[in-house]
Symmetry: D2
């Protein structure tokens, strides 16, 4: 059993992380912090945990955190960077579900997040924790930067064709749709049900913080810098991301060969499910599960459309963090992540 | 490991049963039938099961069913009654999630379900499978009548006060709200999203088939016949039942004593959670879990309001069936039912 | 054409009022105030008004308000009471959509709203503006207290039987369900879509501010003080209230006589629609319309169930305010309120 | 007053048409047919029309239809083609909201709709009724082919740049999202709320019937054949289409010049609203209104993203049909179409 702490436990990623860790056989969730809710029982805020979790939120306490084997940060950007270096120095491993260590370039961070990076020395320690593309680097890492939700869906969808060098890098468009939980557990008028239900809209079309993160990772996969048109939309639903990914092939591929590239690329992956050619995955097919389901289409020769769905809180956040934890500590990668998606 | 079969596996209760049984460590789901989908892989209909279940729907095959240790019926009323007697005769145990064996009086069945009961001899074998009220009779049963979803929420909410003889039996009103999955996985215009979303309405106010079932069980608890005003409503949501239960006390009780009656009645129950006095449980707090959460209020002296929430597909159907199966076969009652509700 | 102002125009009732007034042929919406949005174009906040409304929010300006023929208050309680007396003194008529002038007893106001009433002298000027029960008093009024949303649905549902003296006043239970817009356009975590969608819960079961308002008006209709069990629930939908109203008859009535009481009571009302006996109205049948649809049931002799649905923002707020305005100024009562409900 | 008939009145487009026509000052809806519901009062099926409409569904009666000034077809493809030629011969004008007369090429019709066109002679009479692009031809038409919902949103969004010759025709991708009412009022399992709510998926990615219709009209606008990648998605909401339209500029344009192309192209259109540059329209901003709101973005030089939203049942179907009717009969184009969208 390892002892783990969560910093920032009152948001959706912290809440989902606690749901998963509570059921994990090798983990004792020992500490969960929240400045605002210090002293409140966790299960009074999250009644689904009644009978499963006896923790009480504590204030941020770096001493207590230092006694953990692993600390998860489920905090807005700018928080982890101030606490992580000391924890690392004390030998605590860290998985940051926020954005502080995802961009390798601190100048890019400053540009997109509007603040200087105050722990740029630690960037070199950070491993981008998308196991299906970076697994080899994770077990030995001290600091894992857990990917954003959109980047997870987009990168997994594009990876096979980019790794195979088959896509024209000038033609990538990711039209993405997210449930409202992706915006966090925040008191904002635009997120209340009468504003967000029975409607949808795009946002950040001219620029969104996940774009440089996606471009960074896709460029690594492609072996050359590339750019992406990234268009997120807010959907009237709770969980789920659907990435509709467009690109043109550099040279002709039959449908069967196209499908084979995906099937072979992900052949042994426990959390990526390649559907039959020209399928249409629904987000609910992964609700609550750590699975990414992918289908590929070629509506006209050379025009590829990849459909990639995840649960933004699981494979897009907390589930992926548990997967990274399993890799860090040598547990079976699927341990604690076997839940079947909840349908309907 | 026991081998189990499901008759009628394409509805929501069959689908949820399969989700739970697939993850149950002592069960091998060996057979699932569907006249309409015979030959179809189960996971092509229910993609959440991809990677978890290799079954294919078979046609109804009584020989194959007879080789099972246990058969679940997840069928419309009128189906199980024609197959159950023979299975029982062959030594197969049966849990019927439909309505055929819930009413002890075959005349009442005929009146409410519009058909004669064709297996009334088997009614004597049937045990009403609500473990919190009938647990003692279940382990030795050959045939378990799994309760309806509304009855589960209503009976659990009223049981403590009725068993204590505290309620005036003339004053019971159950105002119930159900998600649309309670109406089944059926191609009906009134259930399509544009009809059922962003709206609500009552139905069956002048009479609903779950009323005699509830009255039968509440009368047993009260030790005398009683009647109930039962008002179901269709809610614009997928899962969940919220029962708002009204009644007047026969004699004065303090709030603390009222709460104590509930706490003591359910003190050792793993699947009933009594909230602090005057709480307001949300259906989402039990989404996907086999839990019934109950809160009690006394807005004015003598006027009691009990709030009882369940997931209609879990504690209201498939989860309760697994709980009954655990009792039938001597497994720990909570085995395979430890899932934490999915929030948000 | 009359010139009207709206104080507090950024909430849902103000927004809906502006939608209705913009289309009203005898009204010029001349002024709309909002402390927070002063200087913002109204249609930048509410894009449905683009091309229909050129107003800009102004700060609260009592001088400008005094130049209006009529001022609507769409403000939280406690605001109108500080501005209304002076406007009345200047000859401006007022319709308050908030709660300040609904309770005739300032002590009751203080008890339920947690503040002393600072304009109790004006309470005597206030007419409770539910035209179907108080129409005679409205045309000559200077100050109209527009009813709450729940009270509108509940009072209209009970009125025929109470006015006829047919209900046992000890047996009234109003189990009410409201869409989330009833909670206002407010940045609260519990209202965001991931919290409020696909779930439901009761609230204020032990006491809600609309209860004394309903009891006050029902007592007047009944001619004697009565009490009510009032149970509101938050529904995962945008608009709509469904009141499920219970009561016992004092003496036997046939179903036909029961129906006739409703049909005759509301025979000439343009905005109350009595459905055929034992119908089940859906809230969507009044979405966007100023209509209350009512159906009555008698499931067992003597047990009455009345179903009453309104759009909480129209008949439950802004539409009713326009109806009151029409009465105040001698316009046809239905003017500007002829919209057909939006289905689906 | 003109007398109009509707063939196929029980679907969503027929229902919405009736809502609009009932409120139209120059129209008497005189006849509405439905084979399945003949003899049923319209307002018993659509209770929002209670008090507004006294019609009863009649069976298909070509004699009665021939007495109308105008007949709308709100029928599945294949119905209108068998009745329209005779009506035209009898001097009745026709607006077909179905697909029978949208494709000018009967071979394309046969390919995409799986049946031979049985009235190909009438294709020459048909005018594609998207007033913003084909207005000049409508007043004199005998037969108007009312556009599909997706085509309306997509064509209006691309038209300014295509008409200006600014788009590279090899780069068009229309990623479209539709509410479930777009699938019609049909009893299909995949449309019931538990299947369609809180989830989303693409469909028809490899080919959808609206693609040839869009390509036909866009090619006319561009003056040369072009192809489009069209990707529809089913959204968990009732009404609304959001088209996210991608394309690359043939030559550089400043943001201001790009915006000016849209503003000038639609400068005098009553039903197209060009938002400020880089806005994000929400579908709810047009709910119930005959408006198309459009915003344009240029996230990187040369990469254009156009966002176009409509209510699929209004501007995407019934409202557009009324707009066409107004043009056919010389009424003001906006008559009966002034409704303000319902928000929230």
């Amino acid at each position: 059993m390892i002892r783990v702490g969560i910093v920032g436990g009152t948001g959706y990623t912290g809440m989902e992380l606690l749901r998963l860790l509570t059921a994990h056989p090798e983990v004792e969730p020992a500490l969960i912090t929240s400045r605002a809710e210090a002293g409140t029982r966790v299960d009074s805020l999250f009644p689904n945990l009644r009978g499963h979790c006896d923790l009480t939120f504590s204030g941020p306490d770096e001493g207590a955190l230092a006694a953990m084997d692993l600390v998860f940060f489920a905090t807005p950007h700018g928080v982890a960077m101030d606490m992580v270096p000391q924890l690392l120095a004390q030998g605590v491993r860290v998985i940051d579900l926020g954005a502080d260590f995802r961009l390798r370039d601190s100048a890019a961070f400053a540009q997109w997040y509007g603040m200087a990076h105050r722990a740029s020395d630690a960037l070199g320690d950070a491993v981008y924790g998308l196991p299906e593309t970076t697994r080899a680097h994770i077990p030995g890492a001290r600091l894992v930067a857990n990917p954003g939700c959109y980047p997870t869906a987009v990168i997994l969808g594009y990876a096979p064709l980019l790794a195979a060098g088959m896509l024209d890098p000038e033609t990538l468009i990711a039209d993405c749709k997210s449930g409202v939980s992706g915006a966090g557990r925040a008191a904002k008028v635009n997120l209340i049900l009468p504003e967000a239900a029975d409607s949808l809209h795009a946002y950040g079309v001219s620029g969104h913080r996940h774009r440089p993160e996606i471009e960074q990772e896709l460029s690594l996969l492609a072996g050359a810098p590339l750019t992406l048109q990234f268009t997120p939309h807010l959907m009237p639903m709770i969980r789920g991301i659907h990435a509709t990914l467009y690109g043109r092939l550099r040279s002709a591929l039959s449908d069967a060969d196209l499908q084979a590239i995906f099937a072979e690329h992900y052949g042994r992956e426990p959390f990526v499910d390649i559907l039959p050619f020209a399928s249409h995955p629904a987000t609910r097919s992964v609700r609550g599960a750590n699975t990414c389901r992918i289908a590929v289409h070629q509506p006209r020769p050379g025009q590829v459309v990849v459909l990639s769905v995840i649960d933004n809180l699981v494979k897009g956040a907390a589930g992926q963090a548990v997967q990274n934890m399993n890799l860090l500590f040598g547990f079976p990668e699927t341990l604690g992540l076997e839940q079947i998606a909840l349908m309907p």
